[in-house]
C-alpha cells in the first residue's frame, strides 16, 4: 500500500487474511450496510402499523364486498410465486457480484427486475379489476386498508425495480467496483425484505381473507 489513508470514520481498513465478502471490502461498507439494516427495521415498523390497521378494519366492509367474494386465489398465488422466484434470482446476482463477474450480475439483476415488473403489473391488473367492479378505496374501510397496505408494498417493489436498473447501468459503465458491489448487496437486502413483507401479506390479507 502506497499511503495509509485514515478515514473520516476512523476505521482501519480491512486487511485481514480471512475472507471478507466483496461488499464489505471498503472501510465504509459495514457502516453503510448497518445503516441500511436500521432503515429496514424502521420500515418493518411502518408495515406493522399498516398490518395492524388492516387487521382492525378487515371486517369493516360497509356496503362493499368482503375479502372472500373479492380475492381470486389463482391471482395472488401467481403473484407470490413470481416474487419468491425473484428473491432467488436476486440472490444469484449477489453470487456473481462476489465473483466480480459483471455480466452475470447484470443479467441476473435484470431477470430479478423483470420478475418484479411482472409482479407489479399483475398487482395493477388486480387493482384495476377491483376498481372496475366498484370496489374502490372509497367503498369501505376494509378496502381503504387493503389498497393502502398492498399498494405500499407494490410501491416499494416499484422503487426497487428502478433502483436495480440504475445499478445495472452503473455496473455496465464502471464494472464491479467495491462501491457497486455494496449497492448490489444492499438492493438485494431490500428485495428480500419486501419478499418477507409479501409473505405476511399473502398470509394475513389473502389467505385469511379467503379461508373462513
Amino acid at each position: 500500500m502506497a499511503t495509509v489513508i485514515e478515514h473520516a470514520h476512523g476505521h482501519p481498513a480491512h486487511e485481514g487474511e480471512h475472507y471478507v465478502p466483496l461488499e464489505y471490502k471498503e472501510k465504509d461498507d459495514s457502516l453503510k450496510v448497518f445503516g441500511f439494516w436500521l432503515f429496514l427495521t424502521q420500515d418493518m415498523v411502518l408495515f406493522a402499523c399498516l398490518f395492524a390497521t388492516f387487521v382492525v378494519l378487515r371486517t369493516h366492509t360497509g356496503n362493499g364486498p368482503d375479502s372472500e367474494s373479492l380475492f381470486d386465489v389463482k391471482g395472488f398465488i401467481e403473484e407470490t410465486f413470481i416474487l419468491l422466484t425473484s428473491s432467488f434470482t436476486g440472490g444469484i446476482s449477489t453470487f456473481y457480484m462476489r465473483k466480480k463477474r459483471a455480466i452475470g450480475t447484470v443479467v441476473w439483476l435484470l431477470i430479478t427486475a423483470a420478475l418484479g415488473a411482472a409482479f407489479v403489473s399483475l398487482e395493477i391488473t388486480e387493482f384495476l379489476h377491483y376498481i372496475s367492479i366498484g370496489a374502490t378505496m372509497q367503498t369501505s374501510a376494509f378496502l381503504s386498508a387493503f389498497f393502502t397496505l398492498v399498494g405500499t408494498h407494490g410501491a416499494h417493489v416499484s422503487v426497487g425495480i428502478i433502483w436495480m436498473l440504475s445499478i445495472v447501468i452503473q455496473i455496465l459503465r464502471r464494472g464491479i467496483t467495491p462501491a457497486l458491489s455494496r449497492k448490489v448487496f444492499i438492493v438485494n437486502l431490500y428485495w428480500h425484505f419486501l419478499d418477507v413483507v409479501w409473505v405476511f401479506i399473502f398470509t394475513v390479507v389473502y389467505m385469511m381473507g379467503v379461508i373462513h
Binding site: 371486517t59 369493516h60 360497509g62 356496503n63 374502490t136 372509497q138 367503498t139
Partner: protein, 325 residues
Amino acid sequence: MKGKQQTRRLLTYAGLGAVATVMLSGCGAQYQVLDPAGPVGQQELNLIVASVVLMLIVIIPVIAILVYVVYRYRDKPGNTAPYDPHFSDSKVLEVIWWGIPILIVAILGTETVRTTFQLTKPPSNATPITVEVTSFDWKWLFQYPDGHVATVNYAYIPVGVPVNFVLTSDAPMNSFWVPRLGGQEYTMPGMAMTLWLQAAQPGVYYGHGANFTGRGFSHTTFYVTALSMDKYQQWIAHVQQSAPALTQTDYRQLSVPSVIGNETFSSYPTGSFENTVLRDGGQYMAESMQMMNKLHPGTGSGSMPSGMTMPTTTTTNKTGHKKHK
C-alpha cells in the same frame, strides 16, 4: 449575588406552598374537583389526595437535599465542606432510591387498580336509572328511556340514585364531564359507553364538553340539576304533558352544527339513540352491540324498531361526507 438568588428561590417556593395550601384547603364549590357532590367524585378525590401525599414523600426530600447540597457544596473560596471528586458509587444509596419509588408505585398502583375496578359500575344494591347522552356539534341531547322525555343542554337527575349515563356522539368525539359529580368519559361516534355518576345532595352542577370539537366547543356547557326522587318524577310528568315532541326532523336538525340554548321534549323517536350508534359505526363494535342488547333487548343485533330505517344517504356516500353540509 448568590445570597440574592437563594432568597429569590425561597420566595418562589413560598409562593408555590401558598398555591398548594389553597389547593388542599377544601375551599368551596368553585374548586369543583376538590369539592365533590357525590360518591364517584369523592372516591376520585380520595385517590388524588393519596397520590399527592405519596408523591410528597419523594418531592420534599428532593427539594430539601437540593437546597442543602447547592448551599453546602458551592464553589466558594474557603468552603470547608468535604470535596471527593471520585465519590460516585454507593450500593446502599442506590438500593434506597430504587427501593422507595418502587414501594410508592406499589402502594399507589394498588390503590389505583382498586379504585379503577370499583368505579366501573354502581354498587349492586342500588337500582340505577339510565340517561342516554348524545353529543352533537355543539350541543348535548339527554334522553330518558324511563319517562321517554328528552332535554337539550341540561339534565335532571334524582339525588341518591346511581345514574348510568350511556354516552355516544353524532359528531366528532367529545367528553362528558360534570366535575362535581365525578370524572369524565368520551362520547364517541359508533360507541355506547356507560359512565356511572351519582349526586349525594341536591344542586345544580356545571358540566362541559372536555374534548375539543371545533369552533363551537367553548359553548358546549350544560348543567345537571339533582333533585329528590319525588321532584324528579314530578318533573318528568310535567315535561310529558307540557313540552313538544322531538320529531325525526328535529332530531336531524340537532346534528347540524350550531350553538343553541336549552330545549325540552315530551318524547323522542323510538330507537333514535340506538340508530345513531349503529349508523355511526356501532355495527362493528362488539361492546356497543352488547350494550344495546342490555339496554333494549332486540335492537342491537340489527333488528330495527319498526318505523325506523337507516337513512340511506349516510352509508353509501363515497366521498366520506356525512350528511350535514
